[in-house]
């Protein structure tokens, strides 16, 4: 296919001697919801973080929306504006209110006026169901609410792809759903998403593609329904029994 928005070409990543990604080839297309799973240390988070250059690849090439992550700082910043990221630990800016957190990016990066940015932020907070929390500081919000603000913050720079790095792993079970629901709605709008998660229900219901990683390689790549019900590989079967 030609409409790949993210292309890995034998991408490797080393931390010193340790090889975390081993010549990964992968095309992600517009509108796909790719769910990445795998045991810890398999390289799934690293693979995600290479896409927006938070980790530097040490071999091969990685092209996002037509730009290579090897293109230098300026190109990297442009890539980051096309690939929003949501972190496991939310990482909201604690000195800013929810609204300021969301408005900060568009104002600083997209050059919006303060008023426009605030309007956009209000819209996005309403979208994630937090219109009434706009003036609260992160410390006053629950984990699930913080993560929804973080999603709004990532959306505010109008990315073409959303990267989720274990977005619900730090949340209590009853708070996971509110975040997953927002992600579900996002997928329904056709957003391209790459999601590292352990939520197999979400993978099955929302994912259009499931990738099982092992030892820095893609071990399984298929339709979530198929590969979860009948894992094509023993280690994946074993892994799924423990999730």
């Amino acid at each position: 296919m030609t409409d790949a928005i993210i292309t890995f070409r034998s991408v490797s990543k080393h931390f010193g001697q340790l090889k975390v990604l081993d010549e990964v080839d992968l095309d992600i297309h517009k509108g796909e919801v790719v769910v990445l799973i795998g045991p810890s240390g398999s390289g799934k988070s690293t693979l995600l973080r290479c896409i927006n250059g938070l980790e530097q690849i040490t071999g091969g090439d990685l092209v996002v929306n037509g730009m290579s992550v090897l293109g230098g700082n300026k190109v990297l910043r442009e890539i980051r504006q096309e690939a929003g990221m949501v972190f496991q630990q939310f990482n909201l800016f604690p000195q800013m209110t929810a609204l300021q957190n969301v408005a900060f990016g568009p104002q600083q990066v997209r050059g919006m006026s303060a008023r426009q940015a605030r309007e956009l932020a209000r819209e996005l907070l309403a979208k994630v169901g937090l219109a009434d929390k706009a003036d609260h500081e992160p410390a006053e919000l629950s984990g699930g609410q913080q993560q929804r603000v973080a999603i709004a913050r990532a959306l505010a720079i109008k990315p073409k792809v959303m990267l989720f790095d274990e977005p619900t792993s730090a949340l209590d079970p009853e708070l996971k759903q509110e975040v997953l629901n927002v992600m579900r709605a996002l997928a329904a709008e056709g957003m391209t998403m790459v999601v590292v998660t352990h939520e197999m229900c979400f993978a099955k219901q929302v994912g259009t593609r499931l990738i099982f990683m092992e030892h820095g390689k893609i071990a399984v790549d298929g339709r979530p329904g198929d590969v979860i019900d009948t894992p094509p590989n023993d280690r994946m079967k074993d892994f799924l029994q423990h999730v």
């Binding site: 700082n73 910043r77 980051r80 929003g84 990482n91 600083q108 990066v109 410390a139 913050r153």
Partner: protein
């Protein structure tokens, strides 16, 4: 000789003049020290290996040698080495800048590194350049954590100015010494000198506590 506290009154104007010199050296010296320390601290926190090494050597040399030796070096060794002759007052200010700068650099580095890496990443991930991440996200958070140890360093530096007695700067301690040499009123004069230092450090502490109170540590 009987202790006569009233005698202090006669020397108050002279001691105040000394205290004024102490405040002057402290304020100008710390202004420079904060700037130098911020630069060296950021070099340590964000610089590549060369920049980091330069800051590291500076900090270690200053932290590893007594301030009196540093003052002596500036005042007596520098003219021999580089034929740069500086007057006592400038030497004093410079010594505080260089000395406080090294300690403040470590304070700045510690504060910056104490801010979770995830916050920097969150800033970078929305496409901010590194300097904006430092300016708008890490900086304001680190600043709050900087205040308590910085206040400590300010007080240490203020008291360090008493060492400039060795190069003849007429600061508070030197002034006290001169008065004492003339009238041998050791108890009264040194008590007065101590109280003046306490007032200066007390005011400094109070100011810092007010700033701390107004800023929540996040």
């Amino acid at each position: 000789m009987e202790v006569n506290w009233l005698i202090i009154w006669d020397f108050i104007p002279q001691l105040l003049k000394g205290a004024q010199v102490t405040v002057h050296i402290t304020v100008v010296g710390l202004l420079g020290g904060v700037i130098l320390g911020a630069i060296a601290g950021l070099m340590r926190a964000y610089g590549n290996s060369v920049i980091n090494a330069i800051a590291f050597v500076y900090i270690e040399v200053i932290r590893g040698t007594p301030i009196v030796v540093q003052v002596m070096f500036l005042y007596f060794a520098l003219p021999v080495l580089a034929s740069i002759r500086i007057d006592p007052m400038t030497t004093a200010v410079l010594a505080i800048v260089i000395n406080a700068g090294a300690y403040i650099a470590e304070i700045v580095r510690g504060a910056v590194l104490s801010i979770s890496k995830g916050l920097s990443e969150a800033g970078l991930a929305i496409g901010l350049p590194r300097w904006k991440v430092i300016r708008y996200i890490v900086g304001p958070l680190a600043f709050r954590r900087l205040i308590p140890p910085l206040g400590n360093q300010f007080i240490v530096s203020l008291k360090d100015t008493s060492l400039f007695i060795v190069i003849g700067v007429g600061e508070l301690t030197r002034t006290g010494q001169e008065i004492m040499a003339a009238n041998f009123r050791a108890v009264e004069i040194w008590t007065a000198v101590a109280v003046m230092y306490l007032i200066m450090t007390g005011v400094l502490s109070l100011m810092l506590r007010m700033i701390e109170k107004r800023m929540r540590i996040l």
